[in-house]
Amino acid sequence: MFEKIVLASDGSEHSLRSTTHAIELAEKFNGTIDVVYVVDGQTAKSDVLHNNGKLEIAKKRHEKMKPVVDLLERSDVEYSIHILHGEAGPTIVEFTNENGFDCVVIGSRGLNDLQTFILGSVSHKVAKRVNCPVLIVK
């Protein structure tokens, strides 16, 4: 039922909770996990500003995802990591819908209150527009 799972994550502590839930789900249904980290314009700007060259940027981003990767490594679930570019919400929706996934696992938080007020919440956007069930982890 939930064999192809998308896990939206930015490597933050909060997204680790979503990771454990995604792993449990995948283990139950013998599924695979595709981790998606979306780099938005603001992050692209500050990553380019603070790192020397493409290699260093790529390395930093993989390091950022390391806690998530560690959790996945400890499980027996087959997984892959995707670093995509764009606005978080629409990019996750597009990736999920185009590749025919069965379930999206996403954290409810990430931004602070003011940012959520101005930008809206990513999980809300994803839940509204994605074609498969969504698990929002509180």
């Binding site: 314009g41 380019v48 500003l49 020397n52 940027i57 930008l119």
Partner: protein, 486 residues
């Protein structure tokens, strides 16, 4: 260039490019006007510049999808030139800026950008943000609470409207609403028209009316150099950001050359020098623009808007433009550098703050960049000039071996020479250089000096473990300084 590449870059994404280009044109208008006002010229100068630069760079640039036009960084550099010598000198300086940038491109100097450290770039954007902010404060002088209220309302619309829709740039919506309020509410507030003229016509080719002599050149050259450096700094930074946002590559030397050509054209058509814009390029990419067509459409649509809307543009209240500039300033500033300041290496933080300080004092971004680069070069030299020397006694205390770790060059040799005990009871000394590298004749000179000092005390000395490059250098110039009696 291959036809396929050309085709992909121009017509590979027609729908996305046309829509994004139009969005950018709308977002460009308030900025081009506001940057003209910062520089102290008529709004037309910034608008013509944005039109010319966008069109030309779309054809000759090296980074498809990037937006170049009149910018704040460049406008800030022109203020004194315009105040002291007037518009014609600015146009001449713009053309010369283009020539310098073409030379940068031809000699492939974009590689030099690698030597601009990250902390200097962070200082650059932060200083730019502060200067743009500062430039707005003069508009508040002698104004009533109405001005403050309108600016606050502008900002509120800019930041909250995207929640409704992102299809229309929120800055444009803010401008329309605030302008309507002042027109229909009969509110007396300073407008764009109060600060300059706006003509509804296409730019025409003109040769700047300046005396063509050495004196003129000496007036504009320093400005042109600053403009060329700052323009390329911001352009190449923006290109890297667009590269990352779109996950594609770009040709930086072609871009440098393209910026030069675009500025020359702008100068001849009555526009001020410009460069790539981080904010507008971000808007373009987010709106779906990827190809050269998006930049081209932005330029064309901008001109159409000026011709159609000219009468309305002069009625835009300054309060709305000030609000837009505050947004530009907030968006330009690298906020993460504030929150991470204590986590950075101390030298990086000092370089960043120095860059900002120098810019704020001189009002010249290029001076800040140069000072920052220089300071970080000094810090770097200081860091790698630390040479570690350890020693041990062998052969029943008749021989001492020194192990040298580090880089030997002009900055490190002074301390290095002092690290040996020349008066010693041993008969033999070995200096192991297998973890050291000799870089210049100062290093060789230091080794000769050490050799001499030991020999004066009747201690035999040998050097061991030289790597290939160092050995070659030592063979080439070694012994010279000793022979000459130093």
């Amino acid at each position: 260039m291959k036809i396929e590449t050309l085709k992909r870059e121009w017509v590979g994404n027609i729908r996305g490019d046309v829509l994004a280009g139009m969005v950018v044109a709308l977002a460009l208008i308030p900025e081009a006007i506001a940057f003209s006002i910062i520089a102290g010229v008529d709004p037309m100068v910034g608008l013509y510049a944005s039109f010319c630069i966008a069109i030309v760079i779309s054809i000759v640039g090296g980074r498809p999808g990037m937006i170049s036009a009149a910018t704040g960084a460049m406008a800030l550099l022109m203020v004194t030139l315009i105040a002291e010598h007037g518009l014609q000198y600015l146009l001449a300086a713009t053309i010369l800026t283009g020539v310098i940038q073409i030379l940068f491109g031809v000699f492939k100097l974009s590689r030099v950008m690698k030597f601009v450290p990250r902390s200097v770039m962070v200082g650059f954007v932060n200083a730019l943000a502060i200067l743009i902010f500062q430039a707005q404060l003069t508009h508040f002088v002698g104004e009533t609470w109405i001005m403050y209220a309108l600016v606050a309302l502008t900002l509120a619309i800019i930041y909250i409207f995207p929640r409704v829709t992102k299809a229309v740039p929120s800055t444009l919506v803010a401008i329309i609403i605030i302008t309507s309020i002042t027109i229909f509410g009969n509110i007396d507030s300073k407008t764009v028209g109060d600060l300059g003229n706006l003509t509804q016509q296409l730019p025409v080719f003109l040769i700047p009316s300046i005396p063509f002599n050495l004196e003129t050149l000496m007036i504009i050259l320093p400005y042109s150099l600053s403009l060329a450096i700052v323009g390329l700094t911001e352009t190449l930074l923006t290109a890297n950001i667009v590269d990352d946002m779109t996950d594609t590559e770009s040709n930086k030397n072609r871009e440098s050359r393209g910026q030069g050509i675009a500025n020359i054209v702008a100068g001849f058509f009555g526009g001020m020098a410009g460069c790539a814009m981080i904010g507008q390029s971000g808007i373009n990419v987010k709106s779906g623009g990827r190809g050269r067509l998006s930049t081209f459409i932005a330029g064309v649509f901008l001109m159409i808007l000026i011709i159609v809307l000219g009468d309305l543009l002069v009625q835009i209240p300054m309060a709305a433009l000030v609000g837009v500039m505050f947004m530009v300033s907030i968006g330009t500033f690298d906020w993460s550098s504030l929150t991470n300041l204590h986590k950075l290496p101390k030298t990086d933080a000092v370089v960043m703050l120095t860059t900002v300080a120098i810019v704020l004092v001189t009002h010249d971004l290029s001076k800040g960049v140069l000072a920052g680069v220089l300071l970080s070069a000094i810090f770097f030299a200081a860091k790698i000039s630390k040479v570690k020397v350890t020693d041990e006694l062998v052969h029943e205390s008749t021989k001492r071996i020194y192990y040298v770790h580090g880089q030997l060059f002009f900055a490190s040799v002074n301390d290095f020479v002092k690290k040996f005990a020349y008066v010693d009871s041993v008969r033999e000394v070995e200096i192991d250089l297998s973890n050291a590298h000799l870089w210049d004749d100062s290093a060789i000179g230091a080794l000769d000096k050490i050799e001499m000092k030991f020999e004066q005390n009747n201690i035999q000395i040998i050097y061991s473990g030289l790597n290939k490059d160092s050995a070659r250098l030592k063979n080439k110039i070694g012994g010279l300084s000793k022979a000459s009696g130093h």
